[in-house]
Amino acid sequence: MAETHSLQDMRQQAAIAAKVFIQRDYTNGTVCQFQTKFPSELETRIDKQQFEETVRTLNNLYAEAEKLGSQSYIEGCLACLTAYTVFLCMETHYEKILKKIAKYIQEQNDKIYAPRGLLLTDPIERGLRVIEVTIFEDRSLTR
């Protein structure tokens, strides 16, 4: 009576039931932030707090990527002085944070979302427009 799914199970059996899209939140300007409002379609699948925590962490990571601080200014000036060739050997601050975000989403999927039959898609694959949450059919209900 498997009520939780592993990623392996989903790969072999699950069909997509629906997709929910978490849109961007522009109230703070053009900075990349997502709405933390809990979508109703996920009510039966996951805890509201858990989900909001995930979105909030993602928002914090994106805010860190776009932050205007001394580190970003130093990087910008150094890049300008080297005619941007410095980026042939090192990653930009933003790219480093994007890698962190990808790892975080992978981790969240493995630990929290996949066992509940959900899957988060990294927003960068959707042009930072939406967080796509794929809801898989709950096979345990169709018995």
């Binding site: 989903m10 997509i16 300007g29 970003s72 994007l98």
Partner: protein, 356 residues
């Protein structure tokens, strides 16, 4: 291309979980079609070179003109004026000229070849979801849909977000759809035919550096070409007209620079003003944040002081390209399946999706 359900699901999982990378899918079952890169299927009107590394607008004729003008004028300067000036005055002149020239060329190429901040178009699922939301908001009336806008309050100012019918997204604030390139571009400034590309969030600083350094270079060449002519006239005592005949290259440079300097310096000044007030050309032309529109109208994106605005525009973090042009196309993108028997339907139509 007929795949079994389990195989398609496995690929479907891989394509959803895999983080952004340009390596082809690892599943051993997809050996059918040769892998295409995403730029080859890009929906906008752009031209790509070097296997997707370089991205430009469709019409590039004027860009080549810009390149030729700069190369020829600088070429003439270094060949005919610099040897004379280096001997008569100081060899630092060609050095400074050389540095300026390389900087101008570097920033021009960087502006022209990079992604200005194109927003990728919505996936079919996203577009369907948005359409559903809009229909619900309109009360489900089928005829004469009203213009699709969303209002959002940013730092106290109400901003209208427009729906883009081509890209099927609500445009983020400050984004605009370029009709020449047929793309929505973030923080759209303008489409510049001289650089053969749109100027947007990702290449605005290069554009500004280009016009600023070009202003200095133009004034530099103008000044020293005239100096050359005057020194010739004075030293040979043969008169001004003979000096002109002795160095026709300098005359050509003076003419080209004289006609260019007004527009280039003017443009630099204009963009310096735009950067210091954190506005785009688009916003300035429309008068979006002008106080003429209303007493309470102000720019919600400005950081408050000129220094921060300049730093943010020129030294802020450089966002990555959102279109991933060199990534491989993951064909067989998963579509929503009707929840009956779990068989994935590819190319699901609107009617099938509405069953959800």
């Amino acid at each position: 291309m007929h795949l079994g359900v389990s195989e398609s699901m496995r690929e479907c999982e891989y394509s959803q979980i895999s983080t952004r990378s340009s390596t082809p899918m690892e599943t051993p079952y997809k050996k059918r079609t040769p892998k295409k890169r995403k730029w080859e299927a890009f929906p906008g009107r752009n031209k790509f070179y070097c296997d997707g590394r370089i991205m430009m607008a469709k019409q590039t004729g004027v860009f080549y003109l810009t390149l030729v003008l700069i190369l020829v004028t600088c070429g003439l300067f270094f060949t005919f004026d610099c040897p004379f000036l280096a001997l008569q005055l100081t060899p630092i002149i060609p050095v400074i000229g050389g540095v300026l020239f390389l900087f101008v060329l570097g920033t021009l190429l960087r502006t022209s070849f990079s992604d200005p901040g194109v927003l990728p178009r919505a996936t079919p699922d996203e577009a369907a979801d948005l359409e559903r939301q809009i229909d619900v908001a309109n009360g489900g009336t089928g005829y004469r849909p009203p213009p699709r806008t969303k209002e959002v309050v940013i730092n106290g100012q109400t901003v209208k977000l427009k729906y883009c019918f081509t890209c099927k997204i609500f445009r983020p604030p400050r984004a605009s759809h370029c009709s020449l390139c047929d793309n929505c571009v973030e923080r759209f400034d303008h489409h510049c035919p001289w650089v053969g590309n749109c100027v947007g969030r990702r290449n605005y600083r290069f554009f500004y550096m280009f016009i600023l350094s070009l202003s200095f270079l133009t004034i530099f060449i103008f000044a020293f070409a005239i100096t050359h002519i005057i020194l010739l006239a004075v030293s040979h005592r043969s008169g001004f007209l003979n000096a002109l005949k002795d160095s026709p290259a300098s005359v050509l440079e003076v003419v080209v620079c004289f006609f260019s300097v007004w527009s280039i310096v003017g443009l630099s000044g204009f963009h310096t003003y735009l950067i210091s007030s954190n506005q785009t050309t688009n916003e300035d032309i429309k008068g979006s944040w002008s106080s003429k529109r209303g007493k309470d109208n102000y720019n919600p994106y400005s950081h408050g002081n000129i220094f921060t605005n300049c730093c943010a525009a020129l030294c802020g973090p450089l966002p990555p390209s959102l279109i991933d042009r060199r990534g491989f196309i993951q064909s067989d993108a998963p579509q929503l399946a009707p929840p009956t028997n779990g068989i994935t339907m590819y190319g699901a139509t609107q009617s099938q999706q509405s069953h959800m």
